[in-house]
Amino acid sequence: MTSQTIPAPLAIRGAAIRRGDRELWRGLDLDVAPGELVAVLGPSGSGKTTLLRAILGLQDLSEGSITALGQPVRGHGNRRIGYLPQARPLPAETSMRGRDLVALGIDGHRFGLPIPRRGDRARIDELIHAVGADGFADKPVGVLSGGEQQRLRVGQALAGDPRLLLCDEPLTSLDLANQQAVVGLIDAHRRTGAGVLLVTHDVNPVLEIVDRILYIANGQFTLGTPQEVLTTEVLSDLYGAPVYVLEAGGRLVVVGAPDAEQTAHHHHEHGEDEA
């Protein structure tokens, strides 16, 4: 058990979520310990992003409870939790430099006249350095590559040194080198003792650093280490249909699952990147 002084980053008990009149899932119990990285896998529409939204207080549970960083979830949004979204490319005409994207993590929520506080600038420089963005932090974000933008978003998410970090498909549409860079940053933050919950449709880029996997499919879960969960037997049982976990070239491929086609497609893209 974790000690009394450091609250568990995340504790979910008997959680259920409805969307409209459909129940996405029920009876979810999940604990994330300090320094632990849990990946959330499952086909699209299984409620992975909804789970993150519930932890942030942006989506109500229909049953159960969530305790994040020692406090029950309430209200809308939580500044103590870090949040890393998908790498959507920013429009070319955006009135922001790289450092301004990072700065939003520090002052983006502040109302009142936009006057910087003392210490903000030093903290922003520190974050830019930590995510290796010194070289492009002063360029307009619109001209930066997807990978560079995503590094800056990591800086934004880590602005408050959050003890719980939620990542929603943080690697999608990044090339292999940038995927590795972002994975390295997430891993480095986890090593400072933060808990990480990472939603992804492709486990391969994070397989090395994952402690446990929560696999959601069919409104059911399986929770365990990658070796326990990513097997033909376990996943077939979860989907209620024959599903095969294959290993090819050091990568795991799930075949036969509803989003298997999508997964295969992504592997193809990676192959091209490596070439």
Binding site: L56, L58, G75, H76, G77, N78, R79, I81, Y83, P85, L90, E93, T94, S95, M96, R97, D100, L101, L104, G105, D107, G108, H109, R110, F111, G112, L113, P114, P140, V141, G142, R153, Q156, A157, L166, D168
Partner: protein, 287 residues
């Protein structure tokens, strides 16, 4: 019309310029404040991709002003009611971009039609009847000018107070919500502020030309810079130059103010585009 006539229409009053300027000095001030606020709010209009919404709000603002004219109410109050109503409706029903565009597309002709109906029913002076559509600041009475300035001031203050959360929400609503920004409230507040600015702009350059002060200056600024301070400052400067420059040029003759403002605004944009394109080419060559 001969060249002499055109010259007379443009510069006929040049000899009495000082006297005319003294008469319209309040209009110049009102134009300056509107140019400033219009440029600033335009930065967010561009970032949130809402140029079309500006146009939709201005047509309903025109309908409100025309209705006020018809029933003998204050015209500024009428335009304010129309534009706040439109802004609230678009903000409420059109949270998603695609919904928003269809709602605006539906509202806009309805508002314009209503306004034309009210103007046709109105039996007042025929002259200046369509000034709500094409604008004529120098004919606005000084009591109303005061109101226009106050409304602009409120919009400016409101915009500065929500500046950072609004910027966050405009760029990345998901992350903003995750970090506790009340995104629904901020978006709605922005729509109401936009409604205030548009209502003022209707009186100064006319409902059909509002975008020349609320969209063009910011679009021009975004062409030449990306700094978080440089863009709003430059947009505000462009807005003030267009509004004040337009009025100062127009009072030399008998032509309306609006074409001057729209032309200056457009020329600024053109220059910014050329400067931006040339710099892009230089940067690429250096890379």
């Amino acid at each position: 019309m001969t060249l002499d006539d055109i010259g007379d229409a443009m510069f006929g009053g040049a000899a009495q310029y000082g006297e005319i300027l003294a008469l319209v000095s309040n209009s110049v001030w009102a134009g300056a404040i509107l140019g400033l606020v219009g440029g600033l709010i335009g930065v967010f209009v561009m970032q949130r991709d809402m140029a079309f919404a500006v146009h939709g709000i201005s047509e309903l603002s025109f309908a409100g002003a025309a209705a006020a004219l018809l029933i003998g109410m204050d015209v500024v109050a009428g335009s304010l009611v129309g534009s706040l109503l439109a802004a609230a409706l678009i903000g409420w029903l059109g949270a998603r971009a695609r919904d928003r565009n269809s709602i605006i597309g539906v509202l806009m002709p309805f508002g314009l039609g209503l306004g034309i109906l009210f103007l046709s029913l109105y039996n007042g002076r025929a002259a200046g009847r369509f000034s709500l559509l094409t604008g004529q600041i120098v004919s606005v009475q000084s009591a109303q000018l005061g109101w226009l300035a106050v409304i602009c001031g409120i919009a400016l203050l409101g915009l500065l107070l929500i500046w950072r959360p609004l910027r966050f929400d405009s760029l990345d609503p998901q992350s903003a919500a995750a970090r506790g920004v009340p995104v629904v409230g901020v978006s709605f507040a922005f729509m109401l502020l936009l409604g205030l600015v548009v209502a003022v702009a209707v009186h100064i350059i006319g409902a059909l030309l509002v975008m020349a002060l609320v969209v063009t200056p910011a679009a021009a600024a975004l062409r030449v810079t990306a700094g978080p301070v440089a863009v709003p400052v430059l947009a505000a400067v462009f807005g003030v130059v267009a509004a004040v420059g337009g009025i100062l040029l127009a009072i030399m003759g008998t032509l309306p103010v609006s074409p001057y403002i729209t032309t200056i605004s457009f020329l600024i944009y053109l220059v910014c585009r050329i400067v931006g394109a040339r710099r892009d080419r230089v940067t690429r060559a250096r890379d």
